[in-house]
């Protein structure tokens, strides 16, 4: 096994659920990057870790913000030939396959900024989402930020223009501008092939020991309230939090699909100035 952590069956299931019909990528040091991967079963996780040399390179695991209409084709694992196959697919096919696209709000702080300021800002948006009962989940990104994700199933793609997804791109820009969110990072906002961390994946940050690494953990309200980055280490999470079938912790799951869609629309309407 390439990794003790990823070989845990319940972790495998959590990861598999989060990447259904999405592109998976491993990006990290030593140029050992691989894109256009897929995970359909637990065996796939072990295989992609092996072929990418995860034990040596400790890449971070990413998934696409987009959900695709069909499974990613099978590309060769031959490192020399792979990118020539995948680049053609990205160029000619990828955008045609996009079915849904999450509203992805990526909050990042610099070394100089405090966690308190960042959390305050995340909470200021969260208050709006909670008030309008918008379905979303919140993730510690594993290093220096948080991500708020509103799943793509609640909002239709109106158009894809020059590789950008609308209205998703404009929505995030409006939220940043109108709520004056300093830490909300707009780099690559709305780009069709954009990637984000896979929930429950490891973020190595140059650390070799899996237990000492951070985890990209979906957070409860209480975990955000009392957030400490030390608590995001694998060893601390495994000893304090039950992860089996934990999922993304999407809020307002008790509401019907229609209600959730309406709530999101009501929330988006407050940003729609003519």
């Amino acid at each position: 096994m390439e990794s003790d952590y990823y070989s845990k069956v319940y972790i495998g299931h959590l990861i598999r659920e989060c990447v259904e019909k999405r592109e998976v990528a491993l990006l990290g040091k030593n140029n050992a990057n691989m894109r256009a991967l897929k995970i359909k079963c637990l065996f796939d996780i072990d295989r992609i870790l092996k072929v990418s040399g995860w034990k040596r390179n400790k890449q971070n695991l990413y998934r696409s913000v987009a959900t695709l209409k069909e499974d990613i084709p099978f590309f060769t694992f031959n490192a020399r030939k792979r990118s020539s196959e995948t680049s053609v697919w990205f160029k000619n096919e990828y955008h045609k396959l996009i079915k849904k696209y999450d509203i992805f709000l990526d909050f990042d702080k610099s070394k100089e900024d405090s966690w308190e300021d960042l959390i305050k800002e995340v909470k200021s948006l969260k208050e709006y989402l909670d008030e309008y009962k918008v379905p979303y989940y919140l993730l510690f990104s594993g290093n220096k930020g948080f991500q708020i994700i509103i799943p793509g199933e609640y909002i239709k793609i109106e158009k894809i223009e020059l590789g950008n997804i609308f209205p998703h791109k404009t929505i995030v820009e409006n939220i940043k501008q109108m709520l004056n969110l300093k830490f909300l990072d707009l780099a690559n906002n709305g780009v069709g092939s954009r990637l984000m961390k896979i929930p429950y994946s490891l973020i190595s940050n140059g650390i070799e020991d899996e237990q000492e690494m951070n985890m990209a953990l979906p957070l409860t309200d209480v975990q955000l309230q009392y957030f400490r980055v030390e608590n995001m280490k694998v060893k601390n999470i495994l000893s304090s939090t039950k992860l089996v079938r934990r999922g993304t912790l999407e809020r307002f799951q008790d509401l019907s699909l229609e209600e959730r869609k309406n709530n999101l629309q009501m929330f988006l309407n407050i940003f729609s100035f003519k």
């Binding site: 200021s124 791109k169 690559n188 940003f271």
Partner: protein
């Protein structure tokens, strides 16, 4: 910390994305030239090497929050790759040759976005609206507006539905 999105787009031959940035460069450069009251050709004539291109790109992309963030995080190689794009190389070459006709051509092709400028002038705040029927206060976005009351101009805040709201 720098990002490698532009490098990845180049490495993956993502021409659609690369030309997207080309387009933004051209249209925002036109807006900036207009704001400065100079012809586009004069504005672009400052691009003679990678260093002057970097400075110009940063200025040009500063018109859009998303692009501004993007350019701030661009790696050195990304700047070099952008600089090597035909659209920039044509400018550099034209500056060498002082070919004014080229700029005239570019000027005609470039669309102007008025929305970007209009967008920047609006000022927004967090706001609250009290519903009369239920008495419930809901969070909204408040846009600064000016109204004339008894001949005097006063600041008011409206939400996206045009209702008067309180700034919170």
């Amino acid at each position: 910390m720098s990002h490698k999105y532009y490098e990845e787009d180049t490495d993956m031959n993502n021409e659609q994305r690369l030309s997207y940035f080309d387009q933004w460069f051209k249209s925002n450069a036109q807006i900036l030239a207009k704001e400065k009251g100079i012809p586009l050709s004069s504005y672009l004539s400052q691009i003679t090497n990678i260093t002057s291109f970097k400075a110009t790109l940063k200025e040009v992309f500063s018109l859009d929050a998303s692009l501004s963030n993007y350019v701030e995080g661009m790696s050195q190689r990304s700047f070099r790759l952008f600089y090597d794009r035909p659209v920039i190389q044509e400018i550099v070459e034209a500056n060498k040759e002082k070919d004014e006709e080229f700029f005239e051509e570019l000027k005609e092709e470039t669309p102007v976005s008025v929305e970007q400028i209009a967008k920047e002038t609006a000022i927004f705040f967090k706001g609250e609206f009290k519903e009369k029927e239920t008495g419930k206060t809901v969070r909204v976005i408040a846009k600064e507006d000016k109204v004339v009351v008894r001949g005097k101009e006063q600041v008011r805040y409206r939400d996206s539905k045009g209702r008067f709201v309180k700034k919170s």
